[in-house]
Symmetry: C2
Subunit: 227 residues, 2 copies
């Protein structure tokens, strides 16, 4: 590691949240190593968005790692099941079928593996607790438990050298706050992609992700560059 | 899930330890779903061993999931670095270069994803604390922290329905105890593979894994069918 450089691994899907999380990491002075997990999601446009965002935000390196979670089945995001179009995002018992089993655990584990290799102690993930679509692995107590486990999992922990920190700069922001924060940081949100179910290369406008995104832009009083 | 069937995901490398862990799971009455992670390791014979073992021990399903951890660099197991041939396995500060960053965290996360999809609450992993080659992610406190995180990560945890349990039946056994346990359970150890650095399809005899395996068989007073 070059002296003085603080490296962070940033989980980057190419959506609004992870893009904003990466912009925050950059603004905090981290050299960003962007990690995109290609888990067989059917919204391939996300992967292209991740590439655009990594380049635009000056990632030192961008790894798109393939891992075929479809082998396990079980989610509308990776299989041919109907996508949900309505739900109450605050209802903890209403976990949507778009939930991918243990997704953030898998993603954070891979980020941890790369961080350890890079000598990085910081991982950024754009999870959001308020508008979090009912995913259990977006809750603060989950993130704290992951961090604790990570510090026991690794060489650095045994040697007492360093401590991994999982940064969740958006965890208590509303979607409107996230849009405002991204705009403050000068992010070009036209580069991002949110839709789970694009048709003819355009956002569907009715999936969970489109609904949350629209709500965020509307409440922030900022037009969505994707229209 | 068919009524009464208790499913477990078993992390199966095809080595002595994971094979014995799977035999224990079977003996405890679990229907075993064997998961092998193909992380770009250079001992490809392990993968063939995993297939043989899964079939011989009656796995309900065997998934070999590819994930290229070489993209992150950093370990002799996945790169072309010299392999170590001597070390003190009890020295916590002497972590070998064969350590793969966050390996068990990545593996357990993937097992958790499959378990959640299957409706399984049990995961078996053949980690070993005594002869554990100095890997931090083989320690009991690490496994406990992973289990706690897993129960916060998932749908089942939110709904208070079930609790994941990480089973480590070998964690306090010596390598000799593991050999004895496998033989008691009727496992054909000729099917397993341990060597990190095979030459002409045969164990090298000098890598960490070969040394530990030989020590186990010798101390158990049982001949190694691999010779």
């Amino acid at each position: 590691m070059s002296s003085g450089e603080r490296r962070a691994v940033v989980l980057l899907s190419g959506g609004l949240d992870s893009t904003t999380a990466m912009a925050v990491a950059g603004a905090e002075g981290f050299a960003c190593y962007a990690l995109t997990i290609d888990y067989g999601q059917r919204h391939r446009l996300e992967l292209e968005a991740a590439r655009r965002v990594a380049a635009a935000l000056g990632a030192r390196q961008h790894v798109a790692l393939a891992i075929d979670l479809r082998r396990f089945g079980g989610s509308a995001l990776t299989a041919d099941l109907p996508l949900p179009t309505r739900r109450d995002p605050r209802d903890m018992t209403d976990i949507p079928v778009t939930y991918v089993p243990a997704r953030n655990t898998v993603f954070l584990s891979l980020a941890l593996a790369w961080a350890e290799t890079l000598g990085a102690e910081d991982i950024f993930i754009g999870v959001n607790f308020l508008d979090y679509s009912g995913y259990p692995d977006c809750r603060p107590e989950y993130v704290a438990a992951f961090e604790r486990m990570a510090n026991l999992a690794t060489k650095a922990g045994v040697e007492g050298r360093s401590h991994f920190r999982i940064h969740t700069p958006l965890i208590r922001l509303s979607k409107a706050d996230i849009v405002r924060r991204a705009v403050e940081l000068g992010v070009d949100l036209a580069l991002t992609w949110s839709c789970y179910d694009p048709r003819q290369g355009r956002p569907c406008g009715v999936c969970d992700a489109c609904v949350l995104r629209r709500k965020g832009f509307e409440e922030a009083g900022i037009p969505d560059p994707l229209g």
